[in-house]
């Protein structure tokens, strides 16, 4: 991320109508980048796990009508 992409804290004071945008400090920014990177990895992992689990359910449902009905009842779209 470049310096131009450094995030800001946005604060609007309703009593004065004044808005202040404050760039994250270097320390905050490093923490922010680490958290963002971890979150993205976690999102990708969960997405893969979900898709894998869904594939297993769909395979089983294709072979077993009772299981397919149960999966549908519990909210899984086959």
């Amino acid at each position: 991320m470049t310096e131009e992409q450094r995030p800001v804290h946005v604060s609007f004071d309703c009593s004065t109508g004044e808005r202040v945008d404050t760039p994250l400090t270097d320390e905050e920014w490093e923490e922010h980048k680490a958290r963002e990177s971890a979150a993205e990895e976690e999102h990708l992992r969960r997405t893969r796990d979900r898709e894998a689990a869904l594939a297993v359910v769909q395979t089983k449902a294709a072979q077993d009508p009772a299981f397919a009905a149960l999966a549908t009842l519990t909210g899984v779209t086959l």
Partner: protein, 366 residues
């Protein structure tokens, strides 16, 4: 033949056949005439008793000229100097005018003065919406009150306009006792406006701050919020991280255990439920990433009991988030804030990770 007297001031007239006596027929008469030159100076209680119709006197205690409009035998004293000339607005005087001259316009029931160059209405004119004044005395700034519309209007120079922009300013505990149907008020302590129905003040949800557009914001804080009973936070955002939860904190409180929340989520092909019995913020939605151009998430959160000072508030949220056409989160959430007992004044929303781009608006209501 005997001498006779003139009818008004009783000058002695010698009989034509009589000898003219200088003191009685000339000297005394001249003295009488001399004493009546100009207006007779007197007071309002020493008006002349020997008077005649048309006599003018000046009362130096009232500062007014008075005329006998009755008869010699039965005088009626009528003040002259406080009466403006009676005219009509469609035929204003044009000749011999001096600045400051007053006239009474009988057709309008109003006074007008001459400024030296033009006539100006100088009193509020009471009329109806179909009898508004016209005429040359209609100058910029002339006020009228219409009895049928119960409206004050001012002449702008080119038309009639309503120029009362201000609501009645008070607080939520000092509503006017003289409220009338249609009265609009503004409460300085809540920032809310209301209209009086004739029996109650009716409020609406209204913006407490302009919509804030943000770009690459780590968080968005609204401070200085008034003590309204109910807040509504409406947002349309996207994040730099896909499907990140959106959290809300009250008064900067990030104490673990102060936020209890639970949610139901439709996540693509499945539904699920989850919760937290002691979080550092309340989850109010899920924010889309920026993987698909122009895809944003949106949501609303009602915070009920914002003006309570016992530390407790309830939050009800819904949000919808599409990262891609097949990857989405539809959330329904409930949250309880169990924080510090104090008046609440600020809220902050922040993503679990990444930044926020989009807009946020905060509304308030009773």
């Amino acid at each position: 033949m005997a001498d006779s007297n003139t009818p008004n001031i009783g000058l002695l007239i010698a009989d034509t056949a009589d000898v003219v006596q200088y003191p009685a027929h000339i000297g005394n008469n001249l003295t009488t005439i001399d004493g009546l030159m100009g207006a007779v100076d007197c007071t309002s209680v020493t008006r002349p008793t020997n008077t005649y119709k048309g006599q003018i006197i000046y009362e130096h205690d009232t500062g007014r000229y008075v005329q006998n409009t009755g008869t010699k035998a039965a005088p009626v004293w009528s003040y002259m100097s406080h009466q403006a000339l009676v005219e009509n607005s469609s035929a204003l005087p044009t000749g011999g005018l001096t600045a400051g001259e007053l006239i009474y316009l009988s057709d309008l029931g109003a006074l007008a003065y001459y400024s030296g160059s033009a006539w100006h209405y100088c009193t509020l004119i009471v009329c109806s919406s179909t009898t508004r004044p016209t005429g040359a005395a209609l100058q910029t700034g002339t006020f009228i009150y219409e009895t049928d519309t119960q409206t004050l209007l001012v002449w702008t120079g080119s038309g009639w306009a309503h120029r009362s922009f201000n609501n009645f300013v008070c607080t939520s505990s000092t509503h006017p006792s003289w409220a009338f149907q249609g009265l609009e008020i503004y409460e300085t302590d809540t920032g809310l406006a209301a209209v009086y129905s004739g029996s109650n003040y009716l409020y609406g949800l209204q913006q407490l701050a302009p919509t804030q557009s943000v770009s690459a914001a780590a968080n968005v804080t609204f401070s200085g919020l008034p003590a309204v009973n109910r807040l509504l936070v409406v947002w349309r955002l996207r994040s730099s991280t896909s499907g990140t939860p959106l959290g809300l904190q009250i008064d900067g409180d990030s104490t673990s255990g102060h936020y209890i929340w639970a949610k139901m989520t439709a996540r693509a092909a499945a539904t699920s439920a989850s919760g937290n019995t002691g979080d550092v913020n309340a989850q109010i939605g899920t924010v889309a990433g920026s993987s698909t151009a122009n895809y944003f998430s949106s949501g609303e959160t009602f915070i009920n009991g914002w003006n309570s000072t016992n530390g407790y508030c309830n939050m009800d949220s819904v949000s919808s988030c599409w990262d891609t056409t097949s990857s989405y989160w539809i959330d329904k959430m409930g949250s309880l804030y169990v924080g510090t007992a104090a008046a609440h004044t600020s809220l902050k929303i922040a993503p679990g990770s990444g930044t926020l781009t989009g807009e946020v608006t905060v509304y308030g209501g009773p």
